[in-house]
Point group: C2
Chain length 195, copies 2
């Protein structure tokens, strides 16, 4: 196996790949994901159609790759938020709020839940990126539960799904203030029930 290539060629490939993903996202946003064709994508990306097949086997794979890139970007931002907060409760609230806001602004770009739709992933990319996110929130919830800020009568796994799903509603909300209210309500659901 020859040593890996020079920087130049790999950088170029990345550029082309990104152009493909951007173009596809644009096309999908404009005419709907079902009407996107390999031909359109190739033209939009400024490459030959046959070349496109050297990067991706079909439209579905491209949409998956785009979604994975999107999620990865979100994860990076969330990790920043995570690291800059102190204490289990604060960390949980900060990350959930950040997630909701990201989801909210992603709406205008009209992307999300494409992943849920395209669940032809057989435990691959989507699973990876999304499980990463899931794991992060679950960890936060477990910590907060140990600190007594979160109910412990429900498995953390299920609380995590609840949080992520509830906050997905941020996509449909009109204002940032509404998103913050959504976070409030969602957090109210995970607090220990009083008796």
């Amino acid at each position: 196996m020859p040593k890996l290539w020079n920087e130049t060629i790999e950088a170029h490939r990345r550029e082309v790949r990104d152009a493909i993903l951007d173009g596809t996202a644009s096309l999908a946003a404009e005419h709907g994901p079902l009407s996107v064709t390999m031909s359109q994508i190739a033209e939009k990306a400024g490459i030959g159609r046959a070349t496109l097949y050297k990067y991706f086997p079909d439209v579905e794979a491209i949409l998956h790759a785009w979604h994975a890139r999107e999620i990865a970007g979100h994860l990076a931002r969330l990790t920043e938020v995570l690291d800059s907060a102190e204490g289990p409760a604060t960390r949980l609230e900060s990350v959930l709020e950040a997630y909701a806001l990201i989801t909210h602004e992603s709406h205008s770009h009209q992307d999300t839940d494409l992943g849920a739709f395209l669940h032809r992933d057989n435990g691959d990319h989507l699973a990876h990126a999304h499980q990463h996110l899931h794991h992060m929130v679950q960890h936060l919830l477990t910590d907060a539960a140990q600190a007594g800020n979160v109910r412990d009568d429900i498995p953390p796994n299920e609380l995590t799904r609840y949080c992520l799903s509830a906050l997905a509603a941020a996509r449909t909300l009109p204002s940032e203030a509404a998103v913050r209210r959504l976070v409030t309500v969602t957090l109210a659901g995970v607090r220990p029930p009083q008796h």
Copy 2:
């Protein structure tokens, strides 16, 4: 304008239409919605391809119609539940639980959030069916808020989005018991905050 046709022809059309929708759902479930073609659908439904175009203009329209039919069925079941419950709090809980269970079992059929994905609806079918659902839940929440069972510091509209979105997590849960726990948590989010 000639009076509308006899029952027979219309019944036949409905049969064919249903066969198309069923076949499409089956194909979409098996190979993913993006790879479904008009040719496959026609063959599966047992009609000529050209005939299929007399019913629907393209795959997207068929998926929309199938989704609308699905939602309509769910709505009918929810309306039953709604009518057989007494009192604002009980009604809210019953309907939300029923919705979660329906979502849960719909998972195996792998359908939902296809609607969210195909938001090429310009205020049409999807809007109609889904807004009907939204309206039902919002009404329940408003009643329950007036009775003091639900917080009134958040607009009912937003609480509704929260509920429906949170309960969508039922799709990914493994057991019915987990779904009931999800309903518990979701309801905890909408209760009046204590001070």
